[in-house]
């Protein structure tokens, strides 16, 4: 058998496209094939719950790269195609149109899919997820005539959608089984601030309350019955209750998965010819705490660059600092670091004016900084945390009236 050449990337989201880009950028000359399930040019997802939903960004604005980009770099785009099987011995991937692609290296960048509500009524007309461009467009259209909107799930997507409803003059109801909005993603002070602002914009929250059933008439949704027995009227229901990693292809191929496709610090699976990157990959966190899976543009793009470097002869462990953002109404939220396990927060800046940062500590070590409308704080925090300077910033430092992240970072640089 001849040596297998080239890279096949399954999944054409942020991670897959960035991997193809970074391979070519690094001078990789073997064939690169990019397989995408959706029939259109690969696009960015973050604007779908923000400016695209609001009609402020066009289709062209959200594509990741133009058509010419793929042609110029000789990247073989297979759009509207699914990978249905992997033969690890022959090193081939089979697509749903019967095409068989051989690979020297296979990259799984399969992403996630929305978790479905496990209750009756989700098939009713007017019940939608917000994951794809087509769904965002459909929701934009429906917002023109919707009168009573219920959002199930108060995470980033749910609250971004609620903000879009408010901008469209609607007063949505947001349900979440947790007591705190954005529960898994932000600290208590930041969550409380966002909940207050959303209330002021006209959103009603039913927290600590799960949906039991979606009610309908003539096949159309008419309301959400909660576990407490209350029925909230609705003609549009949007669910944003998290996502699940696409691990099926990896599992079929006999690769380990555990809340994501299991990879090592080089993003390699236990098959040396197969790697996984982006939302679907469960990787060992360099900052301790076992294996994690992150859903973010930063993680997708940085893992793609890290893998491309390895495949072109410059291997290094993945150790990028995670960061995230959300955009709700006039509030830009940026998070540097992982706040998992934090046990203390210090507020910095002007919360009343909606310009502040929340410093999150585990013990006396700074682990994350959340910034609202303070992008310079965010940039400084990223630099500081990426340099491993978390232990050098104490809660007392931040509480000092003269504290500034930038001067603190600058002082470190001089010392």
């Amino acid at each position: 058998m001849s040596a297998r050449r080239g890279v096949v990337i399954v999944g054409a989201g942020q991670a897959g496209v960035q991997a193809a880009d970074a391979l070519r950028e690094a001078g990789f000359t073997e064939p690169v094939t990019l397989v995408g399930e959706e029939p259109e040019l690969p696009y960015q997802r973050p604007p779908l719950s923000k400016e695209y939903l609001a009609g402020k960004a066009s289709h062209d604005d959200v594509v990741l790269r133009g058509e010419r980009f793929y042609e110029d770099r000789d990247i073989d785009l297979r759009l509207g195609r699914c990978a249905v099987g992997v033969d690890r011995i022959r090193r081939t991937v089979t697509l749903d149109d019967g095409a068989v692609l051989s690979y020297g290296h296979l990259v799984l960048a399969t992403g996630t899919r929305p978790r479905q509500l496990p209750i009756p009524g989700t098939g009713l007309d007017g019940v939608l997820n917000l994951r794809t461009r087509a769904e965002s467009e459909e929701l934009r259209r429906r917002l023109e005539s919707a009168r009573k909107v219920v959002v199930i799930g108060a995470g980033f997507i749910g609250l971004e959608f609620a903000a879009a409803c408010q901008a469209a003059g609607l007063r949505p109801v947001v349900l979440d089984i947790a007591d705190q909005v954005m529960g898994r993603a932000v600290s208590a002070p930041t969550a409380a601030f966002f909940e207050d602002r959303h209330r002021a914009w006209g959103t009603r929250f039913l927290t600590g309350c799960g949906p039991a059933e979606l009610a309908g008439e003539d096949g159309r949704v008419t309301g959400v019955r909660t576990a407490d027995g209350v029925t909230v009227p609705a003609d549009l229901v949007v669910t944003g209750i998290g996502v699940l990693p696409h691990t099926e292809l990896a599992t079929m191929a006999g690769l380990a998965s555990d809340n994501g496709i299991v990879v090592d610090e080089y993003l390699a699976t236990d098959d040396p010819h197969i790697s996984a990157i982006g939302d679907c990959a469960a990787f060992p966190t360099p900052r301790g705490g076992g294996r994690i899976r992150l859903e973010s543009v930063q993680n997708a793009a940085d893992q793609a660059r890290c893998l491309a470097a390895r495949l072109t002869g410059a291997p290094r462990p993945y150790d990028a600092l995670p960061w995230f953002w959300s955009y709700q109404g006039d509030l830009r939220l940026q998070i540097a670091g992982l706040l998992t396990g934090h046990d203390r927060t210090v507020m910095y800046g002007d919360e009343q004016a909606g310009k502040f940062s929340v410093f999150c500590f585990r013990g006396s070590t700074l682990v994350a900084v959340e910034s609202v409308n303070r992008p310079a704080d965010h940039m400084a925090a990223r630099r500081l945390l990426a340099e491993g300077a978390g232990p050098d910033v104490t809660p007392d430092d931040v509480a000092d009236p003269g504290f500034s992240l930038r001067t603190h970072a600058a002082r470190r640089a001089i010392v």
Partner: protein, 107 residues
């Protein structure tokens, strides 16, 4: 259609005909111009689409607003008089040709 020339540190040039209505950042990213990272997708949340403006820019774009000004202080390469975030440079039909210099680093 505005013609935008991106000049890298090593002198390599990429010339793009970009439609009015897009931004210098979007045009660069869609075409894969190296060095325009644009991590946040144009939301004034990072400083990774930093450029130095060159010929053809005078008075063609609105001045630097507060949010952009704050971020221009956070760029990886030093801020200069002609520093801009390219996501804030909206192209119009009034612009024939522009020269944009790409800094050596964005992160």
């Amino acid at each position: 259609m505005p013609k935008v020339t991106f000049v890298q540190q090593d002198g390599t040039e990429t010339v793009l005909d970009l439609p009015a209505g897009t931004t210098v950042m979007r045009g660069a990213v869609a075409a894969g111009v190296p060095g325009i990272v644009a991590e946040c997708g144009g939301n004034l949340m990072c400083a990774t689409c930093h450029v130095y403006t060159g010929d053809g820019v005078d008075g063609r774009f609105p001045g630097v607003a507060d949010g952009e000004d704050e971020l221009l202080d956070c760029t990886a390469e030093p801020r200069q008089e002609n520093s801009r975030l390219s996501c804030q440079l909206g192209l119009t039909d009034d612009i024939d040709e522009l020269v944009i210099r790409v800094p050596g680093a964005q992160t």
